[in-house]
Symmetry: none
Subunit: 217 residues, 4 copies
């Protein structure tokens, strides 16, 4: 019976779609609130207002829901990465950066539980692990593309600069998650100019060999 396929492979009518969407949103909320590991299928269906059995009509198991959420997250993150514009070196660039960062933090917050779950290296599902790497990789590539356009600190490999930037972004979202949504605008006001200076402005000084420079003194 084709109805036995639990996931969204089945053709869903309007009602089914709505139910699935409810479950997806509930999963997002619950995972973000109490974490993937502590979340019970019960918590999810309690949140969505559906019955226990219904869950298994749409998802094979808890992992399957996580995977579904992860795919959605990935889509949004990859889109976001691609949409990172060429950052202007002037004040306009700061604004561009701020807007983009805001979107990043928003998405990150929404998918918090999912992202955490896939960062936890001991994910049962190998597909998920692969997949986390892919997303991060794509993201890093997109960042690098932008950073490569700037000749700042050319002696520091662009991968490392991208890694540093990514680390900072993650830490910021961690801060937002910890300190609450309200901290966000304030954070962005500080962060956008700083990142702009640190990563997207060409440095005005001779690139390398400062030691040599001193030696010539």
């Amino acid at each position: 019976m084709p109805d036995d396929i639990p996931a969204a492979q089945r053709r869903l009518r309007a009602r089914g779609l709505a139910t699935m969407e409810r479950l997806v949103q509930a999963g997002l909320d619950v995972f973000a609130t109490i974490g993937y590991n502590d979340a019970r299928v019960d918590d999810v269906v309690a949140r969505s207002g559906d019955s226990h059995g219904t869950f298994y009509l749409y998802f094979g198991n808890k992992d399957d829901l996580l995977l579904t959420l992860a795919f959605r997250c990935a889509d949004e993150m990859v889109d976001l990465a691609r949409e990172l514009p060429v950052i202007d070196a002037g004040p306009a660039g700061v604004r561009q950066l701020r807007t983009w960062l805001d979107r990043f933090l928003t998405i990150h917050e929404r998918y918090l539980g999912v992202i955490r779950a896939w960062m936890e290296s001991h994910v049962a599902d190998e597909r998920l692990a692969d997949f986390g790497r892919t997303v991060l990789g794509d993201f890093a590539v997109a960042l690098m593309a932008r950073l490569a356009e700037v000749d700042r600190e050319p002696d520091i490999p662009v991968e490392l600069r991208a890694t540093a930037l990514l680390a900072l972004l993650e830490r910021c979202s961690y801060i937002v998650a910890t300190e609450g949504r309200l901290a966000c605008p304030r954070l962005l006001d500080t962060l956008a100019p700083m990142l702009h200076r640190g990563f997207f402005q060409p440095s005005g000084r001779p690139p390398l060999r400062p030691l040599v420079a001193r030696a010539t003194r």
Copy 2:
């Protein structure tokens, strides 16, 4: 004397201390290997070679063990932070930094499971959450003390520079955890000079606004 106080409140003799130590080490290993969430008390005692009941003689439950490990970790981390030397601006500084980073990564790796658990923990235990904040805070303070000694990029607040540095350190330890211990020396070779340049060398160019100020002189 009551045997039923689970934690180390009891006065322990040599044998008891040894057993507790065995359990602690086993906990460290198991948490690092399969993660706190997936770890069972059974895994810990299997590793330590003790019986199931013995575990509960020393720890009230898995959380209690985590807390004990976390305190130890905190002690080492705080010590480490305090021992971060004044970093020389020249090549000696790179070596200093490399040595210190190596220790950082070593400790981080040992306590990997613990740190993860407390980063991810959705405040299952409030003591743990408080405590993670404290350790991170102390660490950041120690980093700031060193960074403040350098006038590099003085227009970027020292807290943010410290945060960035911390974010990078964490990401590095994440990389080490993912790629395996072997990646470590190579990573340090790349990382130490980079961090030295990026954080502990005075920049050779006039800082941002002061530039204008000097120009008007």
Copy 3:
């Protein structure tokens, strides 16, 4: 709808109600047979023919089952107390009393395990303790109402007479429990007249053989 509310708070359908009833009866049987303390949840489900997990679908734990049973017992006891009729001073009264005593002993026997548990319970559950007091109190009040209608031994306060009667009733049910159900009719035959004489006949008249006395008239 949340499945994880253990008690009967959930709306139960016919099937669920039947299961719960099965567990309740099993609990009654098991507690009466082997006692609350020695009873295991396993014994209860074994008796009811349900699976272990099912128990926890309806009751949070053994205490919770006890409480449920206690409430039922209380209902029946309070009803019974209210239905204690005005006891006739003549032979009809002996029959009335006998009938009522029979019911009392029947209920008492059915809820034997529960009553014992709540009499002995060292206030493991405060609700249960409160509640035992309430039931006993209600019962005593009802007894007093009947005893007050008789002027026998008016210098002995009615509360004390009620207490004495209650004490006797309890001891009788203890005897029934110990000696087995078969002892019951014999006991009632002895008890009913005695209690009638001791508690429900006005004093001040020649103690014995009123029938003979009348016959000589």
Copy 4:
């Protein structure tokens, strides 16, 4: 090795006797406080200040301690029963009765946990059950001996009167246990005269105070 005999069969020196006595008292306290079933060997040794292992030097197990306590209780109860004096029909009898009741309640309270444990019919140890019956029987016999001396209500068999008296005594000790020691003197003041009238005064004469009232008529 004769040391393996756990109970007090061994010859104990002064130190051993003191330890055993400490354990016995601790057992009495703990059983009375939290009940035999809930009491752990740990609770007992914690109370006595001895170590866990020491307990098993003196008692084979928890049941063995209970049995020891039960024997002591029995001794005191049997003595007490024997010492119930011939109760005077006049006011002196009320005082006699009060004194004796006081002792009864005191002993009952001290051995509360023990008595409860042996009343709970589901005692693992059959010796204990037998034994409870014996004590109660002896007690009832002693009561009957006294009651038989009085011709009050001779149509009510003396066994039943003894049973009723016993039931009342037990209930009183239950009340003392529930309401606390302070209720005791007040209870005795009410109880002694009442029991005296109800059980130890020959009937056939007008009740206590009304006698005067009628005489003045």
